[in-house]
């Protein structure tokens, strides 16, 4: 088992003929993901890699192929529209990889997607992977291995680092989800924790947060109140100065709020194992599995 994506995932790639879209569509196909369609307006009728049909609209792609999941690689000015188009076409899970989506666009996308009962992951995220089954992401497939730890993170390469260390230590993953580094995103830590708690194959969760906002604090409260499975957490940005945007649009300490210290405090209070370093995930998870 896994969360959000599994053997029934039928993927449409929005922006499949673009530079990033085509590169990663190929990688996902190679991994074994069931890529059923691509969308690029004006290129309907073509075939990607001589196999995947390309459509002009997501609605066409869904009607012809029954796609239920979409991954978005379109440039930032068009990303909000692409997310809303997917939701309108009845896609249940929308994963937006695009970095640089204006936050005011996201204030409009967020209720639109919610009203249509779709789940959005991202934007500005690496996507998600269920090792050995389905990859809807830019996460390198070879660093993951199937197993019983759920991984959720706001970051990209930091996730790779941790997953790589887990895999090397023989700790496999059910699903790895990158929820993205923007201030407004679709799926948050709590959504993933709830899904991992409900997934019978997930035995423990590794959670990587960072400075900015209160998502981790709320997640900690959720863990305390609603989770029976052990959670180990890490917060990046203990040395970050206040008021500066640390690469991710959402990674900023505003005034005195959103510091690593307050998040770590919340983790400890909720009984979450605190990894001081990325490498600490390995022993902390081994103790708990």
């Amino acid at each position: 088992m896994s969360i959000f994506i599994d053997r029934n995932t039928k993927l449409v790639v929005q922006g499949i003929t673009g530079r990033d879209g085509s590169f990663h569509a190929k990688q996902m196909l190679d991994y074994g993901t069931c890529v059923v369609a691509g969308v690029t307006p004006g290129k309907g009728g073509q075939r990607f890699e001589n196999a995947v049909p390309v459509f002009d609209t997501v609605a066409d792609a869904v009607a012809a192929t029954g796609a239920n999941t979409s991954v978005i690689y379109v440039p930032p000015p068009f990303a909000a529209d692409a997310m809303m188009e997917a939701a309108d076409a009845g896609i249940a899970l929308i994963v937006c990889i695009t970095e640089g989506v204006p936050v005011l666009d996201m204030t409009r996308v967020s209720p639109y997607v919610q009203d249509r009962n779709a789940r959005l992951i991202g934007p500005n995220c690496p996507g998600l992977i269920t090792p050995g089954v389905s990859k809807v992401s830019i996460i390198p497939g070879r660093i993951c291995t199937p197993g019983s730890v759920g991984v959720v993170s706001r970051s990209g390469t930091l996730t790779y680092e941790v997953v790589y260390q887990l895999t090397r230590a023989g700790i496999g993953q059910t699903t790895c989800v990158g929820i993205g580094g923007d201030p407004i995103n679709g799926t948050n830590f709590i959504d993933c924790l709830r899904a991992f708690e409900a997934d019978p194959d997930t035995k423990a969760v590794a959670m990587m947060g960072e400075i900015g906002g209160t998502d981790e604090q709320q997640a900690a409260e959720f863990v305390r109140a609603h989770m029976s499975k052990p959670v180990v957490g890490f917060i990046a940005g203990q040395t970050a100065p206040p008021g500066r945007r640390m690469g991710h649009a959402g990674a900023i300490i505003s005034g005195s709020a959103g510091t690593a210290a307050e998040k770590l405090e919340a983790f400890k209070a909720a009984g979450i194992g605190v990894a001081q370093r990325p490498v600490d995930f390995v022993p902390l998870l081994k103790e708990r599995l």
């Binding site: 005011l104 993170s153 390469t157 790589y164 100065p241």
Partner: protein, 381 residues
């Protein structure tokens, strides 16, 4: 992107918000001339991208043109929170009867833009929130409808009991919403919003922060960027498409990805060192980016060791290796360097580095410990 007070006031003015007149001076002469033309007392205000200008001595009341000159002399070129003040705004002093606060920000929790108003103005809104939370009214805006007239009226009456002032404030709030939307803001703030002794409302100070992700589609707003007000290293980094933030330590860090970059800085600290910077070379790196990154880092005289931490996913580690070779061929390093790379094309990268006399490590913790040791004066391990 931060913009200056005078630029935010220009935007506000365009949307009809009443703001006092003002002119910008980059020299004391100009400040004196502007003050003389107004023929009244003026306030000379530092234009700098840092909060707490007043406390730092960056805002001065000047009764005469000579005073304005003296104030500008003191303020232009002064340092506020590590930034040099490039210019001042000279504006007629207002007679103030009362001060309020009005602002709109993007709120992560509610995923909406949220208005905040308070009759307690002129002080930091965070302080008001902490000490007198009942003196703040918050109103999330439904993006489908924008700030509705009745909502603006509610906010107006929270600020002022007087119906005329409340209605005027409501109008200003609707204009503020349009200015915020029309500029791609992540924050727009009037603090203080004053009632003058003549009974008029006036936005005495203005602050706007623009969402960097809006700049591509708003060239007019992007043109407001004042490069003279930026830290020179950060400016060079931005021009090279790198995200760089200067810190006070001595271990220069070059990393791919924001989360890993922060985690690397934290690990430097964990092992007893201090990071000199945050630097993210981004996802699809090319050798050129690495060359620029090394140039920027080696410009900092505090840097005693350089640490590369690259996890190759989309980033090809051989690109990074080629960048390191190219950069050090042009300008040999005077400080030791530790290179950790793993992932895509790792074998090729290691080979390239070895051919040029560099060694590469694969373990993040070992690499960080070595860099800290080198920076703190230990001999090469």
């Amino acid at each position: 992107m931060n913009i200056h007070e005078y630029q935010a006031k220009d935007i506000f003015r365009r949307y009809g918000i009443p703001v006092p007149p003002g002119e910008v001076a980059t020299t004391a002469d100009e400040a004196e001339r502007i003050a003389r033309a107004y023929g009244t007392g003026v306030v000379v205000k530092a234009q700098v991208h840092a909060g707490g200008r007043g406390k730092a001595g960056g805002v001065k009341l000047a009764r005469t043109p000579a005073d304005a000159r003296a104030a500008a002399q003191q303020i232009i070129g002064m340092q506020i929170k590590g930034l040099t003040v490039p210019k001042v705004l000279v504006t007629p002093a207002a007679d103030i009867a009362s001060e309020a606060y009005a602002g709109v920000i993007v709120d992560r929790g509610s995923k909406r833009a949220v208005f905040m108003v308070s009759p307690a103005g002129g002080i930091d809104i965070e302080e008001v929130a902490a000490t007198m939370p009942d003196r703040i009214m918050r109103l999330p805006v439904d993006p489908r409808y924008g700030l509705l007239p009745f909502e603006a009226t509610r906010l107006g009456f929270f600020l002022y009991k007087n119906a005329k002032l409340a209605r005027e404030a409501a109008k200003i709030l609707r204009q503020l919403w349009q200015a915020f939307l029309g500029s791609g803001g992540s924050l727009a703030e009037i603090n203080p919003l004053v009632v003058t002794t003549g009974g008029d409302l006036l936005a005495l100070d203005a602050k706007m922060v623009i969402d960097d992700n809006e700049l591509d589609r708003r060239p007019d707003i992007a043109a407001l960027r004042d490069e003279t007000a930026e830290n020179p290293s950060e400016l060079a980094a931005r021009r090279a498409n790198l995200t760089f933030i200067k810190l006070d330590g001595n271990v220069g860090c070059v990393v791919n990805g924001a989360g890993l970059a922060m985690a690397t800085m934290d690990l430097v600290k964990y092992y007893g060192g201090e990071p000199a910077n945050f630097l993210d070379i981004g996802g699809s790196s090319n050798p050129e980016k690495v060359v620029n990154a090394l140039k920027i880092i080696t410009r900092d005289p505090n840097v005693k060791a350089i640490l590369f931490n690259i996890f190759g996913g989309i980033t090809r580690t051989d690109d990074v290796a080629n960048g390191i070779v190219a950069a050090t061929r042009d300008a040999p390093l005077t400080v030791p360097m530790v290179i950790r790379l793993t992932g895509t094309n790792e074998e090729i990268a290691v080979q390239i580095l070895q051919q040029h006399g560099f060694s590469a490590m694969t373990d993040m913790d070992e690499a960080v410990q070595k860099a800290v040791r080198l920076a703190t004066g230990g001999k090469a391990a």
